[in-house]
C-alpha cells in the first residue's frame, strides 16, 4: 500500500504516465494538464414546484445538487467533476552526492468562469510541494533506500491518516468545511520525512495552522495548532501489503470561553490488502479512473487478477460533553471497510462494504450539536453500505458496467415524548462532516438504493468518455417546497431520482 499523500501520489502518477522515463533521469520541467467537459441532468423527475431540485435542468458543467452515492468511497473525486488540473513539475540533481530535489505545482481549476467570461476563476492547490531526497543504496529487491523530506507550503491539509476517502481523517482534500482545519485562519502547512528502507517505509509528518483562540480579556488571538502523524507500511513485492498510521491533530480550541480545551482528533488506521495480478482492489464506482486524472490508484490489472482490501480506523475527538455541562469528552468514532475485485477475461467484478459510526461520518466537523458529543440518551445507528459492480473490459477501450448499491444511512435520534404524549424531536440523518438532515418526529431512516449503468470509452491515450444513467431511491431526503403563500416549507423529496450525464476528459 502507498500512503495517501500528495508527494507520493505525484510520484505514483509519474510512474503511470505513459512515456515517463522515471524521476531520476527527467530533469526537465514537465507540464501535465487535464480538461473535463460534462453535460447532464441529475434529476429529471423533479416536480416543477420543487424549489431546490438537485438539478433544475440539463446543463453543461457542475450541478450543485449532485451527490453520487458511494462516490466518496475511495476518492473525493470520481473523475465526473467539472474540474481541470494543471501540474508543473521539475527535478534536479542535488549539489551533494545522491541528493535529488523535486518540486511540483499542482492546481485544480474550475474553468467554468473562464467560459462565462465572468466571475472569479476558482483555483485550488492540489498538493504543490518541494522535496529533497537522499538515496543511500538499494534494498534486496532492488528498490532504492532513501530519506525524503517533503514540504507542502500551500495546502498541507491533504496530509492525513488513512487511505480510503471514506475512512481517512485528520485532513481533507475536498471543500474546506470537510476538514478539522476548516476554522483555521490561514493556510494549513505541512511537512513530512519519509524513510524507505528494506521492505518497509516509515514516515512522520507535521501539520500546523493558526486558529483564533479567545482570551480572558480582549480580542481572540491567533495561535498555532500542531498536528503530528506517523506511519509505517510495507513495500515488499509479496501479495500482501500492510499499512499502519497514527495521528494526533490539534485544531484550535473548542468554542467557548478562554481556556476551553483544545479541539483534537487522535487515532489509528490499519489497512491490509491482498492481491494477485492486481495490487489492490479498485472501488466499484471509478469512472474515468478514480480521483484525479494523475492519481490513478492502481495500474491496469492483468487479465486474471484478484484483490482484497480491508481498512479500519478508530479515532477519538475532543468535544464538549452534552451530558456534563462544562466538561469535555473524548468521543470515539470507528469505521471499517472492505473491498474486493475479481477480473477474469473481459469480466471485472468489484464490491465494497462499509460500516461507520455516526460520529465517524461527522468526523472533522463533529457534533449534531455544534462541537458537542452525541447525548448519552440519543439512539445511534451506524452507516452500513454494500455496493457491487460488474463491468466488461472489451477491446478498443470499450467498457460497459452496471453498479448497484444499498446504504443504510447513519443516524442519531434525539427525541422525547411531551406532556401530551406527542413525540418531539426526531432522527437526524448524518451524511457527512457538517451535513446533517432532520427527519420528522417518529420517522426512521430508510435504506437508499442506487442503480447505475455506465458506458466508458477510451478513444485514445489522451481522450476518454463516459456516459451514465443513475437511478436513486432515497426516502430520507427532504427539501423546501414553495407554498401557495409564497413561503418555503420543508417536506420529503420524491424518493425517486433519475439522472444522466456524459463526461469527456482529456489528459495530456
Amino acid at each position: 500500500m502507498r500512503p495517501r499523500f500528495a508527494a507520493p501520489l505525484v510520484a505514483l502518477a509519474c510512474a503511470f504516465t505513459p512515456g515517463h522515463a522515471g524521476a531520476e533521469s527527467n530533469a526537465a520541467p514537465r507540464l501535465r494538464t487535464s480538461l473535463v467537459w460534462i453535460w447532464g441532468d441529475d434529476d429529471v423527475l423533479h416536480a416543477p414546484t420543487d424549489s431546490e431540485p438537485p438539478s433544475p435542468g440539463p446543463g453543461i458543467g457542475d450541478r450543485a445538487g449532485y451527490d453520487g452515492l458511494f462516490e466518496g468511497f475511495a476518492s473525493r473525486y470520481t473523475g465526473r467533476e467539472n474540474r481541470s488540473e494543471v501540474r508543473l513539475e521539475g527535478e534536479a540533481p542535488g549539489l551533494l552526492p545522491r541528493l535529488t530535489t523535486r518540486a511540483g505545482l499542482a492546481l485544480g481549476l474550475e474553468l467554468g468562469a473562464l467560459g462565462e467570461r465572468a466571475g472569479p476563476l476558482l483555483v485550488a492547490d492540489l498538493g504543490s510541494f518541494v522535496e529533497a531526497r537522499w538515496s543511500f543504496g538499494a534494498a534486496r529487491d532492488g528498490r532504492e533506500n532513501a530519506v525524503t523530506l517533503s514540504l507542502l507550503p500551500i495546502n498541507g491539509d491533504r496530509e492525513r491518516v488513512g487511505e480510503l476517502e471514506a475512512l481517512a481523517w485528520g485532513g481533507a482534500v475536498g471543500p474546506r468545511w470537510e476538514s478539522p482545519y476548516a476554522a483555521a485562519t490561514g493556510p494549513v502547512r505541512a511537512g513530512r520525512v519519509e524513510l524507505a528502507l528494506g521492505f518497509a517505509r516509515a514516515h512522520v509528518g507535521l501539520k500546523t495552522a493558526s486558529f483564533l483562540e479567545p482570551q480572558a480579556v480582549g480580542p481572540s488571538v491567533s495561535e498555532t495548532s500542531y498536528g503530528v502523524h506517523a506511519g509505517v507500511d510495507s513495500r515488499w513485492a509479496a501479495p500482501v501489503a500492510v499499512a499502519l498510521g497514527f495521528g494526533h491533530f490539534e485544531h484550535g480550541r473548542l468554542p467557548g470561553a478562554a481556556g476551553s480545551p483544545r479541539a483534537a482528533t487522535s487515532g489509528v488506521s490499519l489497512r491490509v490488502s491482498f492481491g494477485v495480478g492486481l495490487e489492490r482492489p479498485r472501488p466499484p464506482v471509478a469512472f474515468l479512473s478514480d480521483g484525479s486524472p494523475f492519481d490513478r490508484l492502481t495500474p491496469p490489472p492483468k487479465r486474471h487478477a484478484f484483490a482484497l482490501g480491508l481498512e479500519a480506523a478508530h479515532l477519538v475527538q475532543r468535544l464538549w460533553s452534552s451530558d456534563h455541562p462544562g466538561e469535555s469528552v473524548l468521543e470515539p468514532a470507528r469505521a471499517a471497510a472492505a473491498s474486493a475485485e475479481l477480473r477474469t477475461g473481459v469480466l471485472d467484478l468489484r464490491a465494497a462494504l462499509i460500516a461507520r459510526e455516526p460520529s465517524f461520518v461527522m468526523r472533522n466537523a463533529p457534533g449534531v450539536l455544534l462541537a458537542q458529543s452525541v447525548p448519552h440518551d440519543a439512539a445511534q445507528a451506524p452507516e452500513l453500505g454494500i455496493l457491487a459492480s460488474a463491468g466488461l473490459l472489451l477491446p478498443a477501450g470499450f467498457s460497459p458496467s452496471l453498479s448497484a448499491g444499498v446504504l443504510w444511512p447513519a443516524s442519531v435520534t434525539l427525541q422525547a415524548v411531551d406532556r401530551q404524549g406527542q413525540v418531539v424531536g426526531g432522527t437526524l440523518i448524518v451524511r457527512g462532516p457538517g451535513e446533517v438532515e432532520a427527519l420528522p418526529p417518529g420517522e426512521a431512516p430508510v435504506p437508499v438504493l442506487d442503480l447505475r449503468p455506465a458506458l466508458e470509452l477510451r478513444l485514445s491515450r489522451l481522450l476518454e468518455v463516459v456516459g451514465w444513467l443513475d437511478y436513486r431511491r432515497d426516502f430520507n431526503r427532504t427539501h423546501l417546497i414553495s407554498t401557495p403563500e409564497g413561503t418555503l416549507e420543508r417536506g420529503f423529496r420524491s424518493p425517486d431520482r433519475l439522472g444522466y450525464g456524459v463526461a469527456a476528459r482529456a489528459v495530456w
Binding site: 483562540e213 480579556v217 481572540s220 447525548p375
Partner: protein, 605 residues
C-alpha cells in the same frame, strides 16, 4: 464568554431556581467609535444625557467596559447579538467589516444572528471575515443551502452554550424581508431563506430534549418576532433586531397559536397540540447606544411551575427584569478595546486630513414631527431628483438612519446618517405602478403609527392614516404653472397647492394628480427598485440607470458646492478654530431645501 467563578463544578447540570443574565446588542452597524448626536427625550430617559443637548454616545470601548462589568457581577452571563454588524459608518466603507468583528470578538459575544446588512457586499466577504476573525458562532437556522455558496460553511442553525451548568440552546434567525436575493434561485449568496417559524420549530425540537433553556436571537423585526412566537412552541426568550427598536419593557407574546388554537405546525407542517406560554420579546436598540440587560429567574422544579408547564421545556422563565444600559460619554473606555480599534478610527473633525463637507447650523431631523416629510428627508430626495434629472424621487425612510447633529459635517457623519452602499438609480416607472407603490407606502405607514416610510421630491403626497383598504394615498406628481395660495386654487385641476419656496414670498404651484397612464422617470435606490421593502414591483436591473454609487455619495457631491451660512448664524462649535472652518464651509440649512415643507402629510380617513 462565560465567567468562570464559583460553584457549581463543571459537569454538573443545575436544577431548581437559577439566575441567568442575557446581555443583548443589536444593529451596531459599524458604529465602533463614539459619535455625536442630539439626545432625544427617550435617550434622556435612558440616561444618555439631557434632551436636546448634543452628546457623545456609543462606542465599543465603552460598551466593553459596561459588558465586562455585567459579567463580573453575575454568575451566569451570555452576550448575544442580533446582527447587522456591518454597514453604517465610514469604517465599514474603508475596512469592510474587519474592525467590526475584531470588536465583537473583544466584547466576548457568545453568539450572533446573521443580519441582512452583513450580506451587502455579498457572501464572500462574510465568509472571509467570519472565518478569519470571528471567535464566536454566527447563526441562521432559517437559511438553507442552495448551490455552492460558502455562507453555510461559516454559520450554524443553533449552538448549545454552557452557562455554568445551565445548558442554553441559542437559535439564530437571519433576516427574510430585506434581502431580495434570498428569494431568487439560484442566487449569488448560495442560500435560500425559508419560513422562520418552521425552521425554528425544527431546531427547537432537536434542542428541547437536551437543553434547559432556548433563546432565539433574531434579525427579523418586531412584527415577525411576534409571528414567530405565535407559530412555535418551546421558545423561552426572543432577542430581536432589524428595526432599531428600543423596547423599555419586554413585549410578552403567547406562543402555541397565540392563545387561539393551542396547536402549531412543526417543521414539517404537521399540526400538533401544545400549551400556550408567555414569551418575552426584547429589542435593545441600535448603534451600541444602549444594550439590554435581561435578568432571568429560571426554575425547573415542577412544584414551582404551573400545572401546564411542559417538562420538555426544562427551565421556565419565572421572572424577568429588563434594563437598557446607556453607553454614554460618562463611561470610561476599556483601554485594550480602544487600542485595538484605534487604527480604524476615522480622522477627527478639525484634523488636518479630515474632510468636512458642510456646516449644519441646526439639527436636521430624518423623521418629521408629524410623521410626514422631514428636513433631512426632503433634502436627500431633492438631491436625488436633481442628480438623476428625474420627474420625482422616492427614497425609503430607512435609507436615513440618523439625524444630522448641529456642527461640522464630514463624510463619516454623513455616512452614519445615510449609511448604505446602495446605488442611486433612475428608472422609468408607469404612473399606475407608481400609484401602487404609494398605496403600499401608505399601508406601511399606517402600520407604523402614521409615520411616512418614504421621502419624496417632485411630488406632493397625502396619506390616509389609519388605512388598510384601497385608496390610502393621493399623489400629485405633475407640477403646473398655475400659481396658488391654497388647495382651493387648484380645484379646477383636481390638484393641490405646493408650499412656496423657503425664503421667497412667491406663490406656490398647483400639482396635478399622478396620471396612471403616463410614464415617470423616478430617482430611487437600487434596493427599492429591486423590490426591497415591498414598495415597487421588482424592476429588472437592465432598466436601471446608475446615477451615483450611493445616496451618501450624491449628497456629498452636492454638499461640496454651496454658499456659507449667512451672517448672523450662530455656530455651535465651541472651538474658535472650528468656528472659522464652519464659517467657510457650505451651509446645510433651509435655504438648500433642508426644511419641512409639507410635501408629505397624513390625513384622517
Amino acid at each position: 464568554m462565560l465567567v468562570a467563578c464559583g460553584a457549581p463544578a463543571a459537569g454538573t447540570r443545575v436544577h431548581g431556581r437559577v439566575e441567568l443574565v442575557l446581555l443583548h446588542t443589536a444593529d451596531t452597524h459599524s458604529m465602533l467609535f463614539p459619535y455625536r448626536a442630539t439626545v432625544g427625550s427617550s435617550d434622556a430617559r435612558r440616561g444618555l444625557g439631557r434632551a436636546g443637548e448634543v452628546r457623545e454616545m456609543g462606542g465599543f470601548a465603552r460598551l466593553a467596559t459596561l459588558l465586562r462589568g455585567e459579567r463580573a457581577r453575575a454568575e451566569r452571563v451570555l452576550h448575544l447579538d442580533s446582527g447587522d454588524v456591518f454597514q453604517g459608518s465610514l469604517t465599514f466603507e474603508r475596512f469592510g467589516g474587519e474592525p467590526e468583528l475584531l470588536g465583537f470578538d473583544a466584547l466576548g459575544v457568545d453568539a450572533q444572528a446573521l443580519g441582512n446588512h452583513e450580506l451587502d457586499r455579498g457572501a464572500a466577504l462574510v465568509c472571509e471575515r467570519y472565518e478569519k476573525l470571528a471567535g464566536f458562532p454566527l447563526l441562521a437556522a432559517n437559511y438553507v443551502p442552495d448551490g455552492a455558496g460558502c455562507l453555510l460553511g461559516v454559520s450554524a442553525p443553533y449552538v448549545v452554550l454552557d452557562a455554568r451548568g445551565l445548558r442554553v440552546g441559542v437559535i439564530g434567525v437571519g433576516n427574510t424581508s430585506s434581502v431580495a436575493l434570498l428569494k431568487a434561485r439560484p442566487n449569488e449568496l448560495g442560500v435560500l431563506a425559508r419560513d422562520a417559524a418552521g425552521a425554528v420549530q425544527g431546531a427547537l425540537d432537536v434542542l428541547r430534549p437536551v437543553v434547559d433553556l432556548v433563546v432565539v436571537v433574531t434579525h427579523l423585526g418586531l412584527d415577525a418576532d411576534r409571528d414567530l412566537v405565535q407559530r412555535t412552541s418551546g421558545i423561552d426568550v426572543v432577542l430581536g433586531g432589524h428595526q432599531h427598536l428600543t423596547l423599555d419593557a419586554p413585549e410578552w407574546a403567547l406562543d402555541c397559536g397565540g392563545g387561539g388554537a393551542a396547536r402549531i405546525e412543526d417543521a414539517w407542517g404537521r399540526s400538533r397540540a401544545c400549551s400556550p406560554r408567555r414569551v418575552p420579546i426584547i429589542h435593545s436598540g441600535a448603534y451600541a447606544k444602549t444594550f439590554g440587560r435581561v435578568r432571568l429567574t429560571l426554575d425547573d422544579e415542577p412544584s414551582h411551575l404551573p400545572a401546564t408547564a411542559e417538562p420538555l421545556d426544562g427551565h421556565e422563565v419565572i421572572g424577568l427584569a429588563l434594563e437598557l444600559i446607556p453607553v454614554s460619554d460618562e463611561t470610561a473606555e476599556a483601554p485594550d478595546v480602544a487600542a485595538l480599534l484605534e487604527p480604524y478610527r476615522p480622522e477627527p473633525l478639525g484634523a488636518l486630513d479630515a474632510e468636512p463637507l458642510a456646516e449644519v447650523p441646526r439639527p436636521l431631523e430624518r423623521v418629521g414631527a408629524t410623521g410626514g416629510d422631514s428636513p433631512l428627508g426632503n433634502f436627500s430626495a431633492n438631491v436625488a431628483r436633481e442628480a438623476a434629472q428625474a420627474d420625482l424621487a422616492v427614497l425609503g425612510a430607512s435609507s436615513l438612519r440618523h439625524d444630522l447633529p448641529p456642527g461640522l459635517l464630514d463624510r463619516d457623519g454623513l455616512v452614519r446618517a445615510v449609511p448604505f452602499e446602495d446605488p442611486l438609480v433612475s428608472v422609468a416607472v408607469p404612473g399606475a405602478a407608481l400609484a401602487r407603490a404609494f398605496e403600499r407606502a401608505a399601508r406601511s405607514a399606517s402600520g407604523r403609527d402614521c409615520r411616512t416610510q418614504v421621502h419624496v421630491a417632485g411630488a406632493l403626497v397625502r396619506f390616509r392614516c389609519p388605512c388598510e383598504g384601497a385608496a390610502c394615498a393621493r399623489v400629485f406628481a405633475t407640477e403646473t404653472d398655475v400659481p396658488c395660495k391654497t388647495d382651493a386654487d387648484c380645484a379646477a385641476l383636481g390638484g393641490i397647492c405646493s408650499p412656496p419656496s423657503v425664503g421667497s414670498d412667491a406663490l406656490g404651484r398647483c400639482f396635478a394628480p399622478l396620471a396612471p397612464g403616463a410614464g415617470y422617470r423616478v430617482a430611487t435606490t437600487a434596493y427599492l427598485a429591486a423590490g426591497g421593502s415591498g414598495l415597487f414591483e421588482a424592476i429588472p436591473e437592465m432598466a436601471l440607470r446608475l446615477v451615483s454609487d450611493s445616496l451618501s455619495q450624491a449628497l456629498a457631491d452636492e454638499l461640496r458646492h454651496g454658499a456659507p451660512c449667512p451672517a448672523g448664524t450662530s455656530f455651535p462649535e465651541p472651538d474658535p478654530r472650528l468656528q472659522a472652518l464652519a464659517r467657510a464651509l457650505p451651509c446645510l440649512d433651509a435655504t438648500r431645501g433642508a426644511v419641512r415643507d409639507g410635501r408629505i402629510r397624513f390625513e384622517a380617513p
